[in-house]
């Protein structure tokens, strides 16, 4: 039987843990609110941009801009978006599982796969397993700004043009609701007209000619890099909001579990205490009885 003191210590330890998880939950909830507002605000813009791009990619000549090229996909790059911090439930685990699965699928098709990674957790995970990591960005989620998106989008577009990879997929958590995330695998390069078109627009196939102002090439040069920055920004925001949601849910669960443990141990503590008192009483009564 454990001593009363050790039980008391245990209870207070659980209580401390509960305080921490509760505080983390509160912080996550506050951050979630902010990042949720941001992603909901940014979505329409990113969505419209994609609609325009997919309309465009159907009607312009693919050779008119280097970022519109379509090459025979031999080299594949997977951008894995994870968080910088842990304690957020299955958030990073789900991403890691999905991306490993995806990479293996590509490899069985005889494709060469490289990773670029956003977030400390994903970097650690894949580095431990010695996967080929081409590029990594950590610490972007502390203070997420559009600059980060420009940075990441710029790197990816540059490398696509240079031919470092022929296809780019992104694996990230999409923010569905405060308590729900969904792991998404999305193709970013090359821009696929058909698939995105059906998703982004409901107007049906377009007919007639398109007018451009200024010249087509000039317009594309302005529009397309922008598109990738916007998409990168959206993906980062999605992931940030999803992370806070996941953390909030995880910490809520942890707080509840700590509560249950405290209840259980307290009950046991009281029982033990009572048993000790009863035993002492019996001793006294027995002693008094013997003196008679």
């Amino acid at each position: 039987m454990p001593s009363l003191q050790s039980l008391r210590r245990k209870i207070s330890a659980f209580k401390n843990t509960q305080k921490i998880t509760k505080a983390m939950k509160m912080v996550a909830a506050a951050k979630l609110k902010r990042s949720q507002d941001r992603i909901l605000a940014a979505r329409p813009y990113a969505h419209k941009m994609r609609g325009v791009l997919s309309n465009l990619s159907q009607r312009v000549n693919r050779s008119s801009h280097p970022l519109l090229q379509k090459r025979e996909g031999k080299k594949i790059e997977v951008l894995v978006v994870t968080s910088d911090r842990g304690l957020c439930g299955g958030f990073n685990g789900n991403i890691a599982r999905k991306s490993s699965e995806f990479v293996r699928q590509c490899e069985t098709r005889g494709l060469q796969v490289n990773l670029s990674i956003v977030g400390r957790k994903g970097r650690d995970y894949f580095r431990r397993r010695a996967w080929p990591i081409r590029q990594e960005w950590t610490g972007v989620f502390d203070k997420l700004t559009f600059e980060h998106a420009i940075d990441i989008g710029g790197d990816l577009t540059d490398n696509f043009v240079k031919g470092t990879f022929d296809e780019l997929y992104v694996v990230y958590n999409e923010f569905k609701s405060a308590i729900q995330q969904r792991v998404i695998v999305e193709k970013l390069f090359p821009i696929d007209a058909q698939e995105e078109f059906s998703a982004a627009s409901t107007e049906g196939p377009l007919s007639g000619s398109y007018l451009y102002e200024p010249e087509e090439a000039e317009l594309l040069a302005a529009l397309i890099p922008k598109h990738f920055q916007i998409q990168a920004y959206r993906i980062l925001l999605e992931s940030a909001a999803a992370e806070h949601g996941a953390r909030m849910a995880a910490m809520d669960g942890a707080t509840r579990n700590a509560g249950q443990l405290i209840k259980k141990v307290t009950l046991y503590y009281n029982k033990t205490r009572q048993a000790a008192i009863t035993k002492e009483l019996m001793d006294i009564v027995g002693g008094a009885e013997a003196l008679k």
């Binding site: 325009v52 317009l219 529009l223």
Partner: protein, 140 residues
């Protein structure tokens, strides 16, 4: 007259406007262009300027600072980096900005600084103009 045309204005911060309108006049980088319902497909970059749209007899305006416009027969999508409705612009702040930009322009300095001052002056003047006009019309 084939009815109305849907005008949507989005910025990275939010969906600013989504409304059926009769006419849109946008500041294209190579000159203003007007769009009526049934316009042919058209894609353009935008410069710093005023976007006007008409609903029935009422004309509204907003400041648009760079962006793109996509026009289809039923829809105009304005993707602006910054867009502000006339009634949301703070006239005093805009006036102060104009003064500040003018001062910076006078002070001169490196070519890049001068260029920056010119751009911010242009932006500030535009916002001031639009805001003041909006104020006047709302008072009348």
């Amino acid at each position: 007259m084939p009815g109305k045309i849907l005008l949507e204005v989005v910025t990275p911060e939010k969906l600013l406007l989504s409304q059926q309108v009769d006419e849109v006049i946008a500041p294209g980088s190579e000159g203003e262009f007007g769009v009526l319902p049934g316009h042919c497909h058209f894609l353009s970059t935008l410069k710093i300027g005023e976007l006007r749209y008409r609903v029935d007899q009422e004309t509204h305006s907003m400041a648009v600072l760079w962006g793109f416009a996509e026009v289809t027969p039923t829809k105009v999508t304005i993707m602006a980096e910054v867009a502000e409705k006339a009634e949301d612009i703070d006239v005093e702040r805009a006036t102060a900005k104009v003064a500040e930009a003018e001062r910076r322009l006078q002070a001169g300095g490196l070519p890049s600084e001068v260029k920056e001052a010119q751009v911010s002056l242009e932006k500030a003047r535009l916002r001031k103009k639009i805001a003041e006009r909006a104020k006047k019309t709302s008072q009348v």
